[in-house]
């Protein structure tokens, strides 16, 4: 098991996002795990890091209405490798993001208060 005095699961994950990569973990029997953990769920075993190909499908979605702002999307994305994460689909009106839409990962740079984080855009050729 990785020493938590040297590096945290989230720290490793953010290092990948900074390089423009969406990382996830797999268990001994090859099952995808997200969010990153120090211990494998269910088995309690070890985890290995992988980098996703970055393609996924919108599992569910909502458009949020904040005062004085354009509607903002939040969605749950099922990645082709078999894990799900919360994210936002950009470059498309929030209300036009539909369940089943194919999407592609992009790293959002964050800012001085927020570490970089994954967002998505409609994948080429998707409806």
């Amino acid at each position: 098991m990785q020493s938590l005095t040297e590096q945290s699961p989230l720290g490793t994950y953010i290092e990948h996002v900074k390089k423009g990569e969406l990382a996830y973990q797999v268990t001994d029997d090859g099952k995808a795990v997200f969010y990153p953990r120090a211990v494998a769920p269910v088995t309690g075993g070890t985890l290995e890091w992988r980098v996703s190909k970055g393609l996924g499908t919108v599992y569910s979605t909502t458009a949020m209405y904040f005062k004085g702002e354009a509607p903002l999307n939040v969605a749950l994305i099922d990645m082709d490798e078999g894990f799900r994460l919360m994210s936002r689909v950009e470059d498309i009106d929030a209300i036009e993001v539909k369940i089943g839409l194919r999407v592609k990962f992009r790293a959002h740079p964050g800012d001085d208060k927020q570490a970089p984080y994954p967002v998505f855009t409609p994948a080429e050729g998707s409806k």
């Binding site: 209405y65 994460l85 369940i99």
Partner: protein, 384 residues
């Protein structure tokens, strides 16, 4: 739950604190204490009779300690399990364990909130989560909105069907003098209200008000000698399935599909034996999901089930006769009040909204983002 005995304990006192908007500087503890004394009075018991204390609240982390200090009581048994709005159903199950084993005899379950007075953001601050917070989800609303969107996608559920839930709740609320909302509501008004998180308008969302209350449980033997007709605990069930919405395996299936069968098995009943339902209606999608997961209609049929006033006064199944979290009261963790209505229905105390011959009432609590699901089935003496 297996290991517990049907009807071994009963609710003997139940009361709300003051509800709605309380005076400035009222504390959640003031409301808990007020609810506790009203519930004890309802039972014909005194504060000195209380030897078990169960507390959950969002504005104080160490509930049993703070309420025991406030009331200057020294409970033999206490529990502060907090799993959101269903915490109090869990407290009933845990109180039953404690009473059956002689760890306490008179248990008080209490709750209080001043979220309307101090604001929701102050009453229920969200924990930062790197994997969710950057996307600014309006929690818990957006999580439930995504469950609704998924249900609409998979099963053809419509916004009009969601709105039926809010309209039914309002019709019941108009029969409840304690309800916050006093004006009628139409499907069109729900659909045309301010959009918050699609498909939810503000009328698909529960109220944000102050409130609290308490219930008192004791053994079935002791219950017989007290003031009111006992509401026996026939069955309990509890289940947790996830914490964050990204980790919920299927957004259209809740762990009520586990807690419900546990409670039915213990009670020795089936859904068709239930006379009324009190279902945690944080949002219009939740009663639809719970009607399915608790076995009142097949999976996916909940939207069609509630159509045409089916759960409104005069409909085929009485649901949320108080007016629910949507129109009666929602102080943030509404599960205690969900049970109080079911208890009153079994006692026959509901006046204009009383369900005739109500001998079995099911109260279902929900917590977090569809995360914790707990079911309690109450029965009158006739149901024993």
């Amino acid at each position: 739950m297996s290991g517990l005995t049907r009807g071994s304990v009963a609710v003997v006192g139940a009361a709300e604190s003051d509800l709605g908007l309380v005076a400035p500087n009222t504390s959640p503890l003031d409301l808990m204490a007020q609810g506790t004394m009203r519930a004890l009075d309802d039972a014909g018991l005194k504060l000195s009779d209380v030897d078990g204390l169960f507390v959950a609240a969002s504005q104080t982390r160490m509930g049993p300690m703070v309420l025991a200090e406030y009331l200057r009581i020294k409970p033999r048994y206490f529990d502060g399990t907090i799993i959101g709005g269903s915490s109090f159903m869990t407290h009933v199950a845990h109180a039953q364990v404690a009473i059956e084993h002689g760890l306490c005899e008179v248990a008080v379950i209490a709750y209080g909130s001043t979220q309307r007075s101090v604001s929701r953001a102050a009453a229920s601050p969200r924990e930062y989560n790197y994997y969710e917070s950057p996307y600014r989800p309006i929690l818990p609303i957006s999580a439930y909105a995504m469950a609704a969107a998924r249900h609409m996608h998979q099963y053809g559920t419509t916004r009009e069907q969601l709105a039926e839930v809010a309209v039914a709740a309002r019709q019941w609320a108009l029969l409840n003098p304690k309800a916050w909302e006093k004006e009628p509501l139409t499907i069109e008004q729900v659909l045309n209200a301010r959009m918050v998180s699609y498909p939810f308008t503000v009328r698909d969302c529960c109220l944000v008000v102050d409130g609290g209350g308490a219930i008192v449980l004791t053994s079935a033997d002791r219950a017989k000698s007290l003031k009111k007709k006992p509401a026996y605990v026939l069955g309990v069930g509890e289940a947790i399935s996830h914490n964050s919405i990204s980790s919920m395996p299927d957004l259209t299936v809740t762990a009520a599909s586990e807690s419900g069968p546990q409670a039915y098995k213990m009670a020795g009943i089936k859904p068709s034996d239930v006379d009324m339902l009190s279902l945690y209606d944080a949002f219009t999608i939740t009663p639809i999901l719970f009607l399915e997961d608790l076995g009142f209609c097949p999976k996916g049929e909940g939207g069609r089930f509630v159509q045409g006033g089916a759960i409104a006064p005069g409909g085929k199944l009485p649901v949320n006769t108080s007016g629910g979290g949507l129109s009666y009261c929602h102080p943030g963790m509404y599960g205690l009040l969900v049970m109080i209505e079911a208890i009153r229905q079994v006692r026959g105390e509901c006046g204009a909204r009383q369900v005739p011959d109500c001998n079995i009432a099911l109260a279902h609590g929900n917590g977090g983002v569809l995360s914790s699901q707990c079911t309690v089935i109450f029965g009158s003496e006739a149901a024993l």
